[in-house]
Symmetry: C2
Subunit: 289 residues, 2 copies
């Protein structure tokens, strides 16, 4: 991959891991980072994630041929606005956010002609946050969803997808709208459900919770500020997912009488078989684009 200068805006778990991976794999690329905390930038430089570090985003995008926005979803649009005048002509900008319609629209609206925006969602990370958990292999084997639109420059899309492939990811392309609809079901709703499961417990019940409950609710420990932004940005889809979930729970309630033992068994069988299918497919690796 030809990359002269990479700008990473936001040096946390994801931004730091991109820096580590690119510096170890593209020796000629200068990796430049922006963060608003001097401590974080120093830590990122010390661990080898950045060649240069700046406390102003404009400084980190100048002359970069690829810019990756790695801040929380809620501040992507203001950040695009801040850097718009300073991104070099011909550069490509992408992001790592968990929702895609808003940022793709903002990129198209705010960036100069000649600068391309391509939405990305590398599915990696977890509940851990901060550059101290960054690893060069964080993205290895994961799926990255890219969200081109009919307006997307194919060369810009190729540059972004090359980055993720360099980091070991497989690419799945979706429209921004499809991305947000599918992720509401498979990620945003599950987060909300885990939080609701914790929230509904009485104190005395929590004293009895076992490992199963802790596994089930692990994602509820994710950063509340990040998740607030994600749920609000994708609220139309999350509402639809919540309603389908409520329908499932109502269906279950209807099956909870002695007359429906076989239907209840079939409902549980279907869920167990489906999850097993998922586990088996993961063992074979995620589907390629």
């Amino acid at each position: 991959m030809q990359l002269r200068r990479l700008g990473i805006l936001g040096v946390g778990l994801l931004g730091g891991s991109i820096g580590l991976a690119v510096r170890s794999r593209l020796k000629d690329c200068v990796v430049v980072g922006y963060g608003h905390q001097g401590d974080t930038l120093r830590a990122a430089r010390q661990m080898g994630a950045l060649d240069e570090a700046y406390e102003q985003p404009q400084q980190a995008v100048r002359d970069a041929d690829l810019v990756v926005l790695c801040t929380p979803v809620g501040v992507l649009s203001p950040l695009l606005q801040q850097i718009a005048a300073d991104v070099a002509g011909g550069a490509v900008v992408t992001d790592v956010g968990s929702t895609k319609r808003t940022v793709v629209q903002a990129g198209g609206r705010l960036l100069k002609p000649g600068v391309s925006f391509v939405g990305s969602h590398p599915m990696a990370g977890g509940e851990k946050r901060g550059v101290q958990f960054a690893r060069a292999d964080l993205f290895e084997g994961g799926i990255c969803i890219t969200t081109p639109t009919p307006q997307t420059d194919p060369a810009a899309l190729a540059r972004v997808e090359e980055l993720w492939k360099l980091l070991g990811m497989r690419i799945t392309r979706l429209s921004p709208a499809s991305h947000d609809r599918l992720l509401a079901d498979v990620s945003h709703l599950p987060h909300a459900v885990a939080a609701a499961l914790v929230g509904m417990q009485h104190e005395e019940a929590l004293g009895l919770c076992g490992k199963g409950f802790l596994d089930l609710t692990r994602i509820a420990s994710g950063d509340p500020g990040l998740w607030r932004d994600i749920l609000l940005d994708n609220r139309d889809n999350v509402r639809q997912s919540l309603r389908r979930m409520a329908d499932q729970l109502q269906r279950l309630e209807a099956l909870l009488d002695g007359q429906n033992a076989e239907s209840l068994r079939a409902w549980l069988d279907a869920a167990a078989a489906r999850r097993q299918g998922l586990v088996d497919s993961k063992d074979q690796g995620p589907p390629a684009a």
Copy 2:
């Protein structure tokens, strides 16, 4: 602990683990097992979980001073009926089922005068099933809920609790009704929710699921037949839990508009903090009785 002869009815993960643990810790106790499959009984003997094995439950309870029922919840009452005439006077019978009202009532109704029933729910195990996963330390550090009633003989309760303490468990006492109400919230509902989360997914969304989704839905891989019996036996409580869960999800839906960003954040903060509290309390070990 004084135990001359222990009868284990049902030699799967739990029954086999009880056998292994007791045989290694009480050298003078004869451990007798019942199973309806010869293969399982042979495996249990080979791994050292049983001294004697029988294919009729009556044979496994004769002369035992303690009998532990380790079959699925749905067959506990019929099993009590089968063994009632053969349990020795003065013996104590307990079980390991995930619901307690029905079996405690059946024990009191079906067993002879002079034979005591005490409900137990040792919280150990997981999705794995079968004697091949049995381990002498399966119960170490876990909580066992015992469910005495005003009619329970204190000496019988002590004999049962001594068994669980011998196996490394901490005891929490609850009435059968409290047990079933609390476990509906912290175990039965979460299982149902995990199954519903898998069940509501469209195929194309499942292709995008990550490790978080698999963790969240792990308990949906539990045995559907076992879970059908648990959910049906505890259906009044599970219905209440389902309704409280539905209320939480409705509350969340109401928070999903831009005006409520702070309330949504507070809702997510509370869930994350609560779960962290749980993780911290588990690190310090479960509460003692």
